[in-house]
């Protein structure tokens, strides 16, 4: 291709390549300054306390109180001791939910003074999660309604009550099935790779979006 020898046209300075190189270099420098291309560490779960509220997409939970008390007329059996975690759960979805299923799934782990009392490593049925209405135990939370929910742990008959409880709180997501393309509410999960990158031993655990720490209030003569 013949070169232009037309003197009437002003020769334009070739800037496209240098400028784009500069832009790319600047972008790389900024990326390097911000930590490179490595995957950013997940945001640490926020820490909540008594009375705080967290939105879990499907439900909204307020952590009202943590009480250690003996059973009575309104709850439980009188010769047993309980640790009750009081929640206010609002159903944000469009259909009736079961309080037990949504609360049990969205609070995967509970620790009392550091000891796990609810978790998948425990081989038990977990705490009792009910709506207590004057001694009548219910489970339904209708859409857009808020109901008081009790998560009840049975304490051993002797020993002191725990001083503090810590709850790991997960969140829901409206999940589309990869195979069937159907939708359902599931708890958001984190992928934990197996030891040595063993894919067959990859575990999926609920993603903890918040940790709630509440002091345990002792009610009556424990």
């Amino acid at each position: 291709m013949a070169s232009h020898r037309d003197g009437s046209r002003r020769r334009r300075r070739p800037v496209l390549v240098p400028v784009s190189l500069l832009v790319a270099a600047a972008g790389l420098a900024v990326a390097a300054l911000l930590g490179g291309f490595a995957e950013a560490p997940p945001e640490p779960p926020e820490t909540l306390g008594k009375g705080d509220t967290i939105d879990q997409v499907r439900i909204r939970t307020t952590f009202t109180d943590a009480v250690a008390r003996r059973g009575g007329d309104d709850f439980g059996v009188s010769d047993k001791r309980y640790l009750l975690i009081h929640l206010n759960v609002t159903n944000l979805s469009d259909e009736t939910v079961s309080a037990h299923s949504v609360v049990s799934a969205s609070i995967p782990t509970v620790r009392a003074d550091g000891k796990v009392i609810k978790g998948e490593e425990l081989d038990d049925l977990g705490p009792r999660i009910v709506i207590n209405e004057q001694g009548r135990y219910l489970n339904q939370i209708h859409p857009r309604l808020t109901r008081p929910v009790i998560m009840a742990f049975e304490l051993p008959p002797d020993g002191t009550a725990p001083q503090q409880v810590e709850l790991d709180v997960a969140t829901f997501e409206w999940h589309e099935s990869f195979f069937y393309e159907t939708h359902s509410w599931v708890v958001a999960l984190d992928e934990i790779p197996g030891p040595g990158g063993d894919r067959t031993r990859t575990r999926y655990v609920p993603r903890v979006v918040a940790k709630v720490e509440m002091p345990v209030r002792v009610e009556g003569d424990l």
């Binding site: 469009d94 259909e95 009736t96 209405e133 009548r136 219910l138 489970n139 339904q140 209708h142 859409p143 857009r144 309604l145 109901r147 099935s177 069937y180 393309e181 159907t182 939708h183």
Partner: protein, 396 residues
């Protein structure tokens, strides 16, 4: 001159008859899958009548291509349909109406070059207007007009200096081309349908065609919006109706007999049941009959106008409700369904009853009846305002 070997005397011999206007390719016989029978090379003075059995096919039959030389490797080219207007290397079967012509050139009558359908077949652009009948009568043939891309055709037949050059075509690697006769005429072009020039299309018609095409495209795209989603595909098949009307589904028929609003519920020998604060009880009495089998309408939901779904309340045991009634063919059973709803959810609400789907067994495509309760805002308000008493749950 008649120096053209008989191989190119193709005036349609050995081909099925075709009508005028009919596509030549359509009438071409199906090619044999296996290699054709080896044919004897035609030597000078030996009439090609002594050729292989493939030659004996009468004209009009499905004549297999008789170009298979024993020395030739059978390639995919040989499985192509034989060209009807065969080039000069093609030895036609002797026919009654066409005497075999002894080839003047000893080498010109050779067979064994694979057909080059795509190369020597006269294209539309190079085809002479029509076959010359005189040529057919005398056995004179016309060669197809040589094109730039043809590899062996012109060199083989012009007899020029290039005739003896080896053919580098894909079918015959390195085989020297025999000397061709000095003068050949191109074989007659096959009879081609006369294409009538289409009448000019008016601008208005073009516009209408474009509009029609766009409308069809738009309709095709619009149809995609009616495709059921995956969630809809697994949901029950809904039959809709209004209160008081018998709504038929595939498995049962259901009719809403009464709709009441209550402030409290009273079961015999039990405590009074109050709703949660700010809620009322909606009591829907449903009468149902089975179609083919006995079933239980264990799922009852109230779907509000804005799409919220309330399950039947758990404050009343299902043993007292429609859920535990057996619904059977030729029998009617009725029962109440209790909902605990805020009063503002009542206008436009529908009640949906169906069997409960089991995840592991049973029918996965259940039927549901969605029945409009007929509560508009005024009726709902009146019903709530007039509801002061306690609804006594019938024992049955």
């Amino acid at each position: 001159m008649t120096s053209t070997p008989p191989t190119s005397s193709t005036s349609g011999a050995g081909l099925p008859k075709r009508r005028r206007g009919e596509s030549l390719r359509a009438t071409r016989p199906a090619p044999p899958v296996q290699a054709p029978a080896p044919t004897q090379p035609v030597t000078p003075g030996q009439p090609p009548a002594s050729a292989g059995p493939a030659r004996a096919t009468p004209p009009g039959g499905a004549a297999p291509p008789a170009f298979g030389d024993p020395g030739d490797q059978v390639t995919d080219r040989t499985s192509r349909p034989a060209p009807s207007a065969a080039p000069s290397w093609f030895t036609p079967p002797p026919t009654a109406h066409q005497p075999a012509v002894t080839p003047a050139d000893p080498a010109a009558g050779r067979t064994g070059q694979p057909p080059r359908t795509d190369l020597t077949w006269p294209t539309t652009a190079t085809t002479p207007a029509a076959a010359n009948p005189a040529d057919q009568a005398t056995g004179l043939t016309r060669r197809p007009a040589p094109t730039e891309s043809t590899s062996s055709g012109p060199a083989a037949m012009t007899g020029g200096p290039g005739a003896a050059q080896p053919d580098t075509g894909p079918g015959r690697p390195g085989r020297p081309e025999p000397a061709a006769p000095a003068l050949t005429l191109p074989p007659p072009a096959p009879e081609r349908p006369v294409r009538r020039r289409a009448a000019p299309v008016s601008a208005g018609r073009r516009l209408a065609n474009a509009a029609l095409g766009i409308a069809l495209l738009a309709a095709a795209v619009a149809l995609q919006t009616t495709v059921l989603s995956a969630d809809e595909r697994i949901s029950p098949i809904t039959s809709s109706g209004t209160a008081g009307e018998l709504v038929h589904t595939a498995f049962f028929g259901a009719r809403v007999e009464s709709v009441e609003v209550a402030r409290a519920l009273q079961e015999e020998n039990r405590d009074r049941v109050d709703p949660a604060p700010g809620q009322v009880f909606l009591v829907v009495t449903v009468r149902a009959t089975g179609k083919t089998r006995a079933l239980q309408l264990q799922r009852a939901e109230l779907v509000t106008a804005d799409g919220l779904t309330y399950e039947a309340t758990e404050r009343i045991l299902p043993t007292r409700t429609l859920a535990h009634r057996w619904v059977q063919p030729m029998l009617w059973s009725s029962g109440p369904v209790f909902f605990e709803v805020p009063p503002e959810a009542l206008p436009g609400a529908r009640v949906v009853v169906s069997e409960r789907k089991h995840a592991l067994f049973g029918d996965q495509y259940l039927a549901e009846a969605s029945i409009d309760l007929g509560l508009d805002a005024a009726k709902a308000k009146a019903a709530v305002d007039s509801a002061t008493g306690v609804y006594r749950i019938p024992t049955s």
